[in-house]
Symmetry: C2
Subunit: 131 residues, 2 copies
């Protein structure tokens, strides 16, 4: 882990790259988030997905609250080297903070959104928030 800053274009999106996270076993796309160089380095070093939270402006060790960590099975870089794809094993069977396996649990159906998945957990029992 040394010169990834030269290989991966962290500059295009202000020090971060978008990261697509996919369940390695099922192929389901779980979520999209961002990594800065530090999050990327930690992800490679620990083998667990670490993102950069733009809303909290700090490293976001996925699963730090819920326990639903992501064990990294492979890291892929796109043609422009400005987007990453992570293949992971998703602990707990749910990546989404709303309790669904994937964040993409709603489908555009005609002129509305249709929920196409069931909840794996109840967010009110997992997160210490009033949301």
């Amino acid at each position: 882990m040394s010169n990834w800053e030269k290989v991966i274009d962290f500059d295009k999106a202000g020090g971060m790259v978008p990261v697509i996270t996919q369940d390695e076993a099922t192929g389901e796309v779980l979520m999209m988030a961002y990594m800065n160089h530090e999050a990327f380095a930690e992800t490679l070093r620990t083998g667990r997905a670490c993102y950069f939270s733009r809303s909290r402006n700090r490293l976001w060790r996925k699963g730090e609250e819920s326990g639903n960590v992501q064990e990294v099975r492979g890291v892929y870089v796109d043609c422009d080297a400005d987007t990453l794809l992570l293949k992971v094993r998703q602990t707990g069977g749910a990546a989404c903070h709303e309790g669904y396996p994937s964040c993409f649990f709603r489908r555009v159906a005609d002129d509305k959104l249709q929920v196409i998945a069931g909840r794996v957990f109840d967010p009110r029992q997992v997160y210490n928030t009033n949301a």
Copy 2:
């Protein structure tokens, strides 16, 4: 197709949302691009993926040069409504302008990138450029 601007958060990324495109049949993640509201509306209307090219600053009808259009099989919205997932049938078997099936044709292996896919076409024979 009317009030998607109210449902989908086009504001967070300056009038655009990131879009992950996945091969519906194989589950392979093909690429990531962006849509503004106009591209999103056209995609829904025509059933073919239309993105917004940030480098060319115009609508980008995927396959307009290469012929490798993407027939849309499903459009999904994430929990924050700021990212889309498109499931498509990829004409020509290649989404990447470099001739690979997926833009994510390189894997992080130790301290370098390893090409893990073969080319489906030679970009020099498909695009009218000197690249």
